[in-house]
Structures are given as structure tokens and as C-alpha cells.
């Protein structure tokens, strides 16, 4: 008989280190919670407040619905035109940001910079900026959506470009085609399905984003929502929230359908 063999996943030293790490993590979380400045009496009151709010929103003021048609159309238009503009701007950015099509390092760096700027500023902040630049309304909203989307679209699009079959492009190059012709004839046909998928996906996101743009004056249904909240018209707020939910569901279904068809 041999003695039973001992086995430990961790050495005693490792176990001590892991315990310390957990204690440290717990301390950090506790400190963060303390810094939140939670007013516990308000939190305790929250269920009553929710009940009260829902009570005031219900039933929604259905008669107000006709007044929402125009803001709703604006919202869809902001998202759609914004997406279209973003895709148009994304094409050159993506070609510069893909390693296999970029003309030079400078263009590559610039395109990557454009992507980072676009993606690091939220749509609402873009909207605030454009409300100042072009005044309140749907134009500001559309530009904000476009600026925010360029980074997203061109990033995914550039990734698609990097995955194309080089052989097909080489064959076009061998005929004596120019750089531009290579892109149009050898690259673009290969990435078209990716492009279509990304467009539809981003359009879906933009529908949701453009519902809040009105909060900062950039047009659409968010504008009506803001007015109703400021005017304490809670049953209107209820109606608007229902309408937004409906639009998002419809756009999601539409994009799922279109994405299925695009491939």
C-alpha cells in the first residue's frame, strides 16, 4: 500500500493571494457604492412613486395620437437619412482603414482617427453640437446620427474588406485596372453583402437613437416627449412611450427581415 497522494489546485501562497484579491475587490465595490450618494429614504419610496407615475400615465391619451404622426415620420427620416449619409461617408473611410486597400500610412491613421472620434462621442452630444451649429430641428438630428454612425459602419465595413479574397482583386489588377477600378470592380462586389447587413443593422440602432434626440432639440418624437414631461401631461407621456415601443418593435422586425434577404 502506498500513501494516498495529495493534490491541491493552488499552493497555500496562491490561495492567500486569491483571498487578498477578493477582499480588495470587495473594498473597491463598497467604496464605489458609498460614493454614489444614494438617498435611502428616496429608494424606499420608489415603489410608491412608480405606482403613482404609472397611475398618471394610464390610460394613455389616445386622442393625442394624430399629433404624433408628424414627429414619428421625422424620427424615421432622421434615422434613415442619417444612416444613408453615414454609409456614403464610410466608404472612403473604410477603404483607408482596411490594411489591404489603404493607399498609405497617413490615410490609414487618419481613417482610424475619424473612427475613434465618431465612436467616442455619443449621439446626444453630437446632437447638442449640431443644434448649436445648424439650429434646432431634424437636420441637426440627422447630422448627429450620421456622425455617430460613420465610425461604427466604417469599422465593420473595413473588417469586411480585410477578409476579401485577394485573388479576385489580383486578377482585376492584372488586366491593367487603376486603383479606383480595383475598388469598384474587385473589392466592392465582394463586400456588398457585408455592407448591406451593416447598413440595416445600423439603421435599426439609429431608429432607437433618434427617438431621444428631441430631448436636446434635434427633432423627432423625443421633442414631443420632452414637451409632455415638462408640461406634466403624464397620460401623453404614456402614449408617446407606447408609440416609441411600437416603432422600435416594427424597425427590429423590418431589419431582421431585410437582413435575411440581403445575404
Amino acid at each position: 500500500m502506498t500513501a494516498p497522494r495529495a493534490w491541491r489546485r493552488f499552493t497555500p501562497g496562491q490561495t492567500a493571494a486569491r483571498t487578498l484579491a477578493r477582499l480588495g475587490l470587495a473594498a473597491v465595490v463598497a467604496w464605489m457604492l458609498a460614493r454614489l450618494g444614494v438617498r435611502w429614504e428616496w429608494v424606499a419610496d420608489a415603489p410608491t412613486q412608480i405606482g403613482d407615475l404609472l397611475g398618471r400615465m394610464f390610460p394613455p391619451e389616445w386622442a393625442f395620437a394624430p399629433a404624433l404622426v408628424d414627429p414619428l415620420i421625422q424620427t424615421v427620416n432622421i434615422a434613415t437619412l442619417g444612416t444613408a449619409l453615414a454609409v456614403f461617408l464610410s466608404l472612403p473611410v473604410a477603404f483607408c482603414a482596411a490594411l489591404n486597400t489603404t493607399p498609405n500610412r497617413g490615410a490609414y491613421a487618419l481613417a482610424r482617427f475619424v473612427m475613434v472620434v465618431s465612436r467616442s462621442v455619443d449621439t446626444l452630444i453630437w446632437a447638442l453640437i449640431f443644434v448649436i451649429v445648424v439650429g434646432p430641428g431634424s437636420l441637426a438630428g440627422m447630422l448627429a446620427v450620421a456622425m455617430r454612425s460613420v465610425g461604427f459602419v466604417s469599422k465593420l465595413f473595413a473588417e469586411g474588406i480585410e477578409e476579401i479574397d485577394r485573388g479576385q482583386v489580383e486578377a482585376v489588377a492584372a488586366t491593367g485596372a487603376t486603383r479606383g477600378q480595383l475598388l469598384v470592380y474587385g473589392v466592392l462586389p465582394q463586400v456588398r453583402p457585408v455592407l448591406a447587413g451593416v447598413c440595416i443593422y445600423r439603421w435599426d440602432i439609429n431608429i432607437r437613437e433618434s427617438t431621444v434626440l428631441g430631448l436636446v432639440g434635434a427633432g423627432g418624437i423625443g421633442f414631443a416627449l420632452n414637451e409632455a414631461i415638462l408640461g406634466l401631461e403624464w397620460s401623453r407621456v404614456g402614449l408617446i412611450l407606447v408609440v416609441i415601443l411600437g416603432v422600435v418593435i416594427v424597425s427590429e422586425a423590418a431589419s431582421a427581415y431585410l437582413r435575411g434577404r440581403a445575404t
Partner: protein, 252 residues
């Protein structure tokens, strides 16, 4: 006339793919390049039309030095060389007609290429070339709907519609079954003869090369070890190209 002189190529990875390769293609007879895998056959063709940059040496087509060209001049030179690929390399999501017409890209503007508005004479030439490769009526099909043999015929049409001075053909049959291989190779050789242009054809299959070639270039480890008529391709010559030990039945 194609004159290749002392062409040398080492890849960044360190593979010395071509070693002082020199030969001349005169007249319109096809020249077949054989050699083991990795001998540098593809590199040789790609250095001729500069899909790969050679390190040293010279390539002249009808007296024009290709290795010195840049930009528009290089593109103009490429128009004179039609290339046919092992993997066909058609733009898969485009139609047969668009693929054939890509052979005319060197002659049209970007704007026309974008809108697919090729001059009527180019469209006419594309239809005629499709008929020559036996694909009449296929113009509207998408390339990814075709069989391998049909794809390679489109590849041949794309190269021929350039009206090149020479065909560069890289293992045109390696992705095809034996019967299709033979008909595709026959088509390339016959059409090149009709157009009175030479073809430089890389090929793995020695019996197939014997069946079609009059002149053979043997490449081994980047160097030419045989250059002569097909009749001179003795066992001894094959051993020089492929190395004695690996010379099996099928190499004869």
C-alpha cells in the same frame, strides 16, 4: 517577344524563389514551364506582370522594359499581358459578362467601370470572345453559379478580350478533373494560336505538358535546369528537374 534576363526574387520570408532566370519567348508557340511544387513557377509569371516585384533582372516585352515602369505606364504594360489563374480568380459575385469586360478595364474610365458602361465595341468583343470559349448565352449568369471548367473558360475570355501580346497561364487545370483539364488546355493553346500570341504556361502535369508543348522550361529551386524541345525531355532531364528519387510513373 518576351525577354527575361537574370530575374531574381527573394521573398521577405527568405525564400529564394527565383535565381537568375533567363529565357526568351520568340514566335507564337506556347512555352510550358514545369517543375516541382515550390520551384518558383508562379513567382516567375507574377514577376513578369509585376504582381510580385522582382529584386533584380529585366523583363522586356517587345523591347519595352517592364521592371522600370510605374503607375499608368505599368498599367498599360499589364493590358498587353493576359493572365489566367489556377483558382480562376473571377469576381465571384459579378456576372460572366462583367468578368469578361474586366479585361477591358485598362481602356475605360473609373466612371464608366462604376456604371458598367463599356464602349459598344468592347461589349461586342466580349460577346464574341464568350462564343469562342464556348460560353454563348452565359453572359447573364453569376460567376459563382458556374462549374470549374466553365469558370476557367470565363477566365480565358477575360484574358483574351484584353487583346494581349502574350498569355501568362498559371496552372490552369490544377483545380479541374482530367477530362476538363485537357479541353481547357486545348482551348488555351488553340485560341492563342488563332490570335497569334505565345503563351507561357505553368503546369504540374508532365504528360499533359508533353501532349501540348513543343518547348519546355524546367524550373527547380528557382533556377532553370532545362530549356529545350519536348523531345529532349528524357528521364535524365526529368530527374534534373524533379530530383531523381521522386521520379515516379506519373511524371513520365
Amino acid at each position: 517577344m518576351l525577354e527575361v534576363t537574370a530575374l531574381d526574387k527573394t521573398y521577405p520570408g527568405g525564400d529564394h524563389a527565383l535565381r537568375a532566370v533567363s529565357f526568351t519567348v520568340e514566335g507564337n508557340d506556347p512555352v510550358f514551364v514545369i517543375g516541382p511544387s515550390g520551384a518558383g513557377k508562379s513567382t516567375l509569371l507574377r514577376c513578369i506582370n509585376r504582381l510580385v516585384e522582382p529584386d533584380r533582372g529585366s523583363v522586356r516585352l517587345d523591347g519595352e522594359e517592364i521592371t522600370a515602369l510605374e503607375g499608368a505606364a505599368l498599367r498599360a504594360a499589364r493590358r498587353k499581358m493576359g493572365m489566367i489563374f489556377q483558382e480562376f480568380n473571377l469576381v465571384e459575385r459579378l456576372t460572366v459578362m462583367e468578368n469578361v469586360l474586366s479585361g477591358r478595364l485598362g481602356y475605360v474610365t473609373l466612371w464608366r467601370a462604376w456604371r458598367r458602361r463599356f464602349p459598344p465595341e468592347d461589349v461586342e468583343a466580349a460577346f464574341a470572345t464568350l462564343a469562342r470559349v464556348g460560353l454563348e448565352g452565359f453572359e447573364g449568369k453569376r460567376a459563382d453559379e458556374l462549374s470549374g471548367g466553365q469558370r476557367q473558360r470565363v477566365g480565358i475570355a477575360r484574358a483574351l478580350v484584353q487583346r494581349p501580346k502574350i498569355l501568362l497561364v498559371d496552372e490552369p487545370t490544377s483545380s479541374l478533373d482530367p477530362r476538363t483539364s485537357e479541353s481547357v488546355l486545348r482551348l488555351i493553346v488553340d485560341l492563342a494560336a488563332e490570335d497569334r500570341i505565345p503563351a507561357l504556361v505553368n503546369i504540374h502535369d508532365v504528360p499533359l505538358a508533353r501532349a501540348f508543348a513543343r518547348r519546355i522550361l524546367g524550373l527547380r529551386e528557382g533556377a532553370i535546369v532545362y530549356d529545350g524541345p519536348v523531345e529532349g525531355l528524357t528521364d535524365e532531364a526529368l530527374a534534373r528537374i524533379y530530383g531523381g528519387a521522386v521520379l515516379g510513373e506519373d511524371a513520365r
